[in-house]
Subunit: 198 residues, 2 copies
């Protein structure tokens, strides 16, 4: 695994110590997160839509309706920014100012490539199902031609990308350590419940 | 509570039955969600940053470093799109195509107003602390002048906004109902753990 080259867009100016350009670190965050937020220009201004994402090798994939407006913008060549955020905890400091959050986030900039080859597209969609439930792509009724046509799959190179990570307890100023307020971290725990059968 | 007027940017074209323009519904989603994703133009293209948000009346607030590049773009007059997503469950259908997600999301478009009045700004920041832990704003060491200056607070009118909601089980095609794959919903449960004291 390599280190990502930093660009003007990915250089973290605020909190640079929290930045990571380590490909493995970035991939771990992308693989753990279920939801991403895709930003691109639409109707003459920015729009941000939630989506699922998944990774195959060095590309990040999203899918949606072929008629999705944001997808059409991206496929027409608009640059996108895809951001993934895992909120790990709320950080309560003694001072209001030093309240913070533990999180792991990734911001990826780039242009999307429409996955058109039917074999590649099918493999990509299978790969998404596998992320949510290993084995699922062999169990579910496979997509037919109409469904494949209704679905757009877009791949983004994981090249212009950065991670930002905060972990650990509150960092208060020395003079506040005796301030009579409780302090610490409340972890945020996300779990998948048992299946509610249809 | 009123119904929000639909604009070109907020009219849901994909899945219009899942749209809501009901102010109360939108406020409930905004109030429950901790994280938002803010998109605006920066470095000549879209950038999407995660942030905390909170609501006071009919305005949505975010805060951050006064030197945050995205904030500076917004304060220079760039239009923003703020999106909030609550993922409630993974929906497993019998067919690959009808796999879906249960979610509640809000997309808000608008321009930000810098909160400059010191009293209003302090109240806004207190209000954010209260969202995360009721009573906290009276316990924590209050922000001093330097800290207030380092913090930018931006308010957005909750006017050009829509919600999109999916709930319930999978919706398979009639001819797939006998397909031998399990189906149903796996709920996503997010909880706050006990405080890990500093």
């Amino acid at each position: 695994m390599s280190t990502i080259e930093v660009t003007d867009r990915t250089r973290l100016r605020r909190g640079p110590k929290r930045a990571s350009y380590d490909r493995e670190t970035i991939y771990r965050i992308l693989d753990e997160a279920l939801v991403c937020h895709i930003g691109a220009s639409m109707h003459g201004g920015p729009a941000v839509q939630p989506n699922f994402h998944w990774r195959i090798g060095d590309e990040l994939y999203v899918h949606g309706s072929s008629r999705n407006g944001l997808f059409q913008s991206i496929l027409a060549g608009e640059s996108a920014c895809i951001t993934v955020t895992l909120l790990d905890g709320l950080v309560f400091a003694r001072s209001a100012f030093h309240h913070s959050a533990n999180f792991r986030s990734v911001m990826l900039y780039g242009k999307g490539r429409r996955v058109e080859d039917p074999v590649e597209k099918r493999q990509a969609l299978d790969s998404m199902l596998e992320k949510f439930s290993p084995g699922r792509s062999a169990e579910a009724r496979p997509p037919n031609e109409t469904e494949m046509k209704a679905t757009a799959v877009i791949a983004f190179p994981i090249e212009e990308v950065s991670a930002k990570i905060r972990s650990g307890g509150p960092v208060d100023d020395a003079e506040d350590l005796d301030w009579p307020a409780w302090s610490g971290v409340r972890p945020l725990i996300t779990t998948l419940g048992d299946l509610i059968p249809d």
